[in-house]
């Protein structure tokens, strides 16, 4: 009897540790909307210009990041040095990346893959949620993302998008935090990686 109890406890423990902490204890519901929008970087009339700070494995790099919505489903993302030299120029058509320019020193598959993933998360506009998780102060919408998931966290009742969390089945991989928000513009954006020592801080200019 005791043996069975211990095994049951261990099983519950193992199953709990395998579940995603983000939604642990929450009840999944069918989404209230078929689609919703990421409101940031959505206005084609605006130039979005940010001072960027990158922390990579203890090293710090700065630059200017420019984002522009150039068509109904197209964005440009350009990163330059403070002195103006363009380091890379990416175009996202829906979620497909076209590299228009990149300096040789940054032309590395791994780096491009990480940046591509982050920018797709940050820029992708129309979302099709499969589940929602209401909490007291926020609601999470779960969206499929290739072999991962994205959770869009909207605050209640202001309905502002505060975070996008990318996860595997069990772990957080990347979190994008939007703060100091007004008129669908986030003055501060923080991109944190949980499987790499990489943080990107963006401050609107």
């Amino acid at each position: 009897m005791l043996q069975r109890f211990i095994i049951s406890c261990l099983l519950v423990g193992v199953l709990q540790s395998c579940s995603l902490g983000l939604t642990r204890g929450l009840v999944a519901q069918p989404p209230s909307e078929v689609t919703f929008q990421n409101p940031y970087f959505a206005n084609t009339a605006l130039d979005y210009v940010y001072k960027a700070q990158l922390q990579v494995y203890g090293n710090s790099f700065g630059g200017i990041m420019v984002v522009k919505k150039t068509g109904s489903e197209t964005h440009r993302v350009v990163f330059t040095t403070e002195m103006g030299k363009t380091l890379f120029d990416f175009e996202f058509q829906k979620e497909a990346l076209q590299i228009r320019y990149i300096i040789e020193a940054l032309d590395r598959k791994l780096l491009i893959g990480v940046l591509e993933n982050d920018f797709k998360m940050m820029l992708s506009q129309t979302q099709f949620p499969v589940e929602m998780f209401p909490k007291q102060d926020v609601t999470l919408y779960k969206v499929p993302d290739d072999k991962r998931w994205r959770f869009y966290e909207f605050s209640n009742p202001s309905d502002q998008l505060k975070r996008i969390i990318q996860t595997s089945r069990y772990k957080k991989k990347v979190v994008i935090n939007f703060t100091e928000i007004s008129d669908d513009r986030a003055k501060k954006i923080k991109i944190e990686h949980f499987n790499l020592k990489l943080t990107i801080d963006l401050y609107s200019l």
Binding site: D47, Q53, K68, E82, M83, G84, K85, T86, Y101
Partner: protein
């Protein structure tokens, strides 16, 4: 009537050409080089304000930044951006010292030929003394207001980094008015200097890092 129309067309064309750059004659080139070398030789320090515009073809507005630049012969340059952000970069020999809003770092340019070339380009363009550089093909132009020299890198690696580099010189003083860095994508950065003073003592703290 036809003849009158042709003459009118010729006049309109000539008027529009007046504001455009023309290639310099040999004599004009020689005169500019003497003038600019004289300025470089007699300049030990420069203090100047600058405004920088980053042009990207898809943007509605160019990105405008402002700051101050200090040059001290032979090779120290301090670029200080103070609007809309604080960023200081000091070029000193093979070292590049950066203060990014309080976060300080140093890059050793000695290990990178490309960085060294960029450094030389920056220091020499501030001085206006790029004429001895053998790494570039040079073209000389003149218009009503300025003398213009366009530098195109010869090195293929450098070409991937910079398509061309343009300097505008004041016709009377021979000093650099504008630096324009043209990217391989045809986007560019334009820096215009203003309120310049020459040979004023440099504050000892300017190159501290």
């Amino acid at each position: 009537m036809k003849k009158l129309g042709f003459l009118l067309l010729l006049w309109v064309c000539s008027q529009s050409l007046l504001g455009q750059d023309k290639s310099m004659t040999e004599a004009q080139r020689a005169q500019l080089m003497v003038q600019v070398n004289e300025v470089a030789e007699t300049t030990s320090t420069i203090h100047t304000n600058f405004t920088q515009w980053k042009h990207l073809d898809f943007l509605t507005n160019d990105i405008e930044t402002k700051g101050k630049m200090i040059f001290q012969a032979p090779d120290k340059v301090r670029w200080e951006y103070n609007n809309p952000y604080s960023y200081v970069v000091i070029f000193e020999g093979d070292q590049l010292h950066i203060d990014d809003g309080g976060k300080k770092s140093t890059i050793d340019m000695g290990s990178s030929a490309l960085f060294q070339q960029m450094n030389e380009l920056i220091v020499n363009s501030v001085k206006g003394n790029l004429f001895s550089a053998g790494d570039f093909d040079r073209s000389f132009y003149v218009n009503e207001q300025w003398n213009k020299v366009v530098f195109v890198p010869k090195d293929e690696k450098m070409k991937q980094y910079i398509a061309a580099f343009e300097l505008l010189f004041h016709k009377e003083t021979g000093m650099v008015h504008q630096v324009k860095l043209i990217e391989p994508t045809n986007d560019y950065t334009r820096i215009v200097f203003s309120d310049r003073t020459l040979n004023r003592p440099v504050d000892a703290s300017a190159f501290h890092h």
